[in-house]
């Protein structure tokens, strides 16, 4: 099994292309990559624009950068008269000063930090649980004879295919009855259930690749099955577990439908919150862009870290590079 997988990996074909063909390919691919980056770069830039600059036409590529968007993202403000602002005395901090230029005063922090923290707590909590349960199940599926193994694996995968909105109706009712609506615990359990299928499929692939001989040798040396699992298999599967964890984390981080329907005040995560930033006093695009940037940046970093395992992750471990 493993040997076969390896031989597939080594059989990579390299189409020998002429120099001109290579140049042609490179130019087209780079062109596509640059076009595909325009929206993201534009959002990154907009975060540093002032609100008037953000709606200028033609769009401004060169502008005076300001942190107004980020200040607006993290604070709530109220509009005040010139006299009132003058009566406050000189601004104490740079962000006070920035806000007062627009006839506003800061009235307190915004809820963005809460939402971001919720995203982190729910993301890491559900990832830990999903990877933990997934590792155990994947090991069992990989090493033991289990009746109806293929059917169970299909069952596990099929739960991932369900449309979230369709599952959300009964889960909404169930959580209302159990008092789990709008709690971090409820969201962690839910995301664990969605992610565990991915974790099982991915980790089974990784564990399949660890030669059984290692464990068998350990058992011959007097280890029990469990000890062999703990001391031999787990350390070998470390990088696979890490990659799986990142995939689970990205899913939980990006999830929107359940978060929108099942949370409101307490446990709301960042994705349903970001569009709400637009609200007050017209369209504050720089603040939205700032929030978007802060939210997407970790994912960009993770994508770069994951690039070798990306293919596995998005195909439930079926296709290995």
């Amino acid at each position: 099994m493993t040997a076969r997988a390896n031989s597939v990996i080594q059989a990579h074909s390299v189409v020998k292309a002429g120099a001109a063909a290579k140049w042609f390919a490179a130019i087209l691919v780079i062109l596509y990559a640059l076009v595909t980056m325009v929206p993201l770069v534009w959002i990154g830039l907009t975060g540093f624009k002032s609100p008037p600059d953000s709606i200028a036409y033609p769009p401004e590529v060169v502008f005076e950068p300001t942190l107004e968007g980020y200040v607006n993202l993290f604070t709530t403000r109220s509009r005040q008269t010139d006299e009132y602002i003058a009566s406050l005395g000189p601004a104490e901090t740079w962000y006070d000063e920035l806000v007062r230029k627009r006839n506003m005063v800061i009235t307190g922090p915004s809820r963005f930090i809460d939402r971001y923290t919720n995203s982190i707590v729910i993301g890491f909590g559900s990832t830990f649980l999903a990877v933990f349960l997934g590792t155990l199940a994947a090991y069992a599926f990989s090493r033991f004879k289990i009746p109806l193994k293929d059917d169970l694996m299909f069952f596990i995968l099929s739960t991932r295919m369900m449309p979230p909105i369709a599952v959300a109706i009964p889960i909404y009712l169930m959580y209302r009855t159990l008092g789990l609506s709008d709690t971090a615990l409820g969201m962690i359990i839910l995301y664990t259930a969605v992610n565990v299928s991915l974790a099982v499929w991915l980790l089974k692939g990784f564990i399949d690749e660890i030669p059984r001989e290692y464990e068998e040798a350990a058992v011959v040396d007097g280890y029990s099955r469990l000890q062999a699992f703990w001391k031999v298999v787990l350390p070998q599967a470390r990088s696979g577990i890490a990659a799986t964890a990142i995939f689970c984390l990205i899913f939980a981080w990006n999830e929107y439908a359940f978060a929108l329907l099942l949370t409101s005040g307490e446990a709301q995560t960042a994705p349903p919150f970001i569009p709400l930033i637009i609200g007050e006093g017209g369209l504050d695009w720089p603040a939205v862009a700032a929030g978007t940037t802060l939210f997407l940046l970790p994912i960009v970093v993770f994508t770069v870290l994951l690039r070798k395992n990306l293919l596995r992750g998005i195909t439930f471990g079926a296709v290995r590079k």
Binding site: I30, Y32, W42, L136, L296, T315
Partner: protein, 316 residues
């Protein structure tokens, strides 16, 4: 979930009492371990997926409304299904969904396969640029929808500006106009997910052994023949896997479109999931929307079955 660290627990127990229980824990039979390891996952999925599924099926035969908890639940038979399948609006939503799925898949297959063929020429730096191209598909679809509303601003957005650099069409109201709104979501989805198709095609291309091309060369096959008789048949299973998976995902599409057009204008971009959310969580017609959910389930489950068959084919 009381088995977080069985081995650890077993070892500390073993230290405390050298025989008896600890011994039994450490020498669990393989069968025992297998069930111990699998059961928590299966139980969780039963509780969070299967139980709700059964509940949905039950509710789909009732007139229950979730915003009136005290109301007596009445069994209405297949009335919800009859009303759904007889409604022209529902067919409209399904058609909008099919339209979205077909166009996005068509565009992404052409672009994705094309890109994969180019990247497979292994020019210098192709690895770096591939990673750059992959970034959009990992982002949160809802947040992508939010920031594209900014890019799509009719008067001031950069999308209008860039299009006008090439063709002078004036302000483009991508989200607000009935003709353009379906394209607005197709463009964003294509921007986001072409890398997915590309990555799978690339895996297919890299699985083709060189000797096939060398043999073709000896037989004096032209580049078109090589593509048709060697490349395409080898890439096709990967391509189909990608299309099937993305097709299922787009059939369920919710988050990106809700944030971008929220189904409008009118109901031009009201995909099945979006209508389902409206019926279930705005109009609170729980029974009726459960029936709609069941219809979507059955479709997705059928497609999912095909997906797993394709998976197994690729694996071989």
């Amino acid at each position: 979930m009381s088995d977080p660290a069985i081995p650890m627990l077993a070892r500390s127990a073993a230290r405390a009492m050298p025989s008896g229980l600890a011994h039994r824990l450490l020498s669990l039979s393989d069968k025992g371990i297998a069930w111990l390891f699998i059961t928590p996952t299966i139980l969780l999925l039963l509780a969070i997926n299967i139980f709700p599924l059964i509940w949905t099926v039950y509710l789909s035969f009732t007139n229950y409304r979730a915003n009136r908890p005290g109301q007596v639940i009445e069994w209405v038979g297949t009335q919800n299904f009859e009303r759904l399948l007889g409604s022209e609006d529902v067919w409209g939503y399904l058609q909008a969904t099919a339209n979205f799925v077909c166009w996005t898949m068509g565009l992404q297959v052409v672009l994705g396969l094309g890109l994969a063929l180019l990247i497979n020429r292994n020019f210098k730096g192709s690895g770096f640029w591939t990673t750059v191209i992959l970034i959009p598909m990992m982002l949160s679809p809802a947040v992508v929808g939010v920031f594209w509303t900014y890019l799509y601003q009719p008067q001031t957005g950069i999308f209008t500006y860039i299009v006008n650099l090439f063709v002078n069409v004036g302000a483009l109201d991508m989200i607000g106009s009935v003709q353009l709104a379906p394209w607005s979501i197709i463009i964003v989805d294509t921007w986001m997910w072409t890398p997915y198709i590309m990555l799978l095609c690339l895996a297919g291309l890299r699985s083709i052994p060189d000797y096939l091309y060398e043999a073709a060369e000896i037989d004096r096959a032209g580049p078109l023949q090589k593509f048709w008789y060697i490349t395409l048949p080898r890439v096709l299973p990967f391509l189909m896997l990608a299309v099937l998976f993305r097709g299922i995902e787009n059939f369920k599409m919710f988050d990106m479109v809700v944030e971008l057009t929220s189904g409008g204008p009118g109901s031009t971009t009201e995909l099945a999931s979006i209508n389902l959310k409206r019926e279930a969580f705005e109009k609170w017609r729980t029974g009726y929307s459960s029936a709609f959910a069941v219809i979507l389930f059955v479709t997705v489950f059928g497609l999912g079955n095909l997906y797993v068959k394709a998976l197994n084919k690729v694996k071989q």
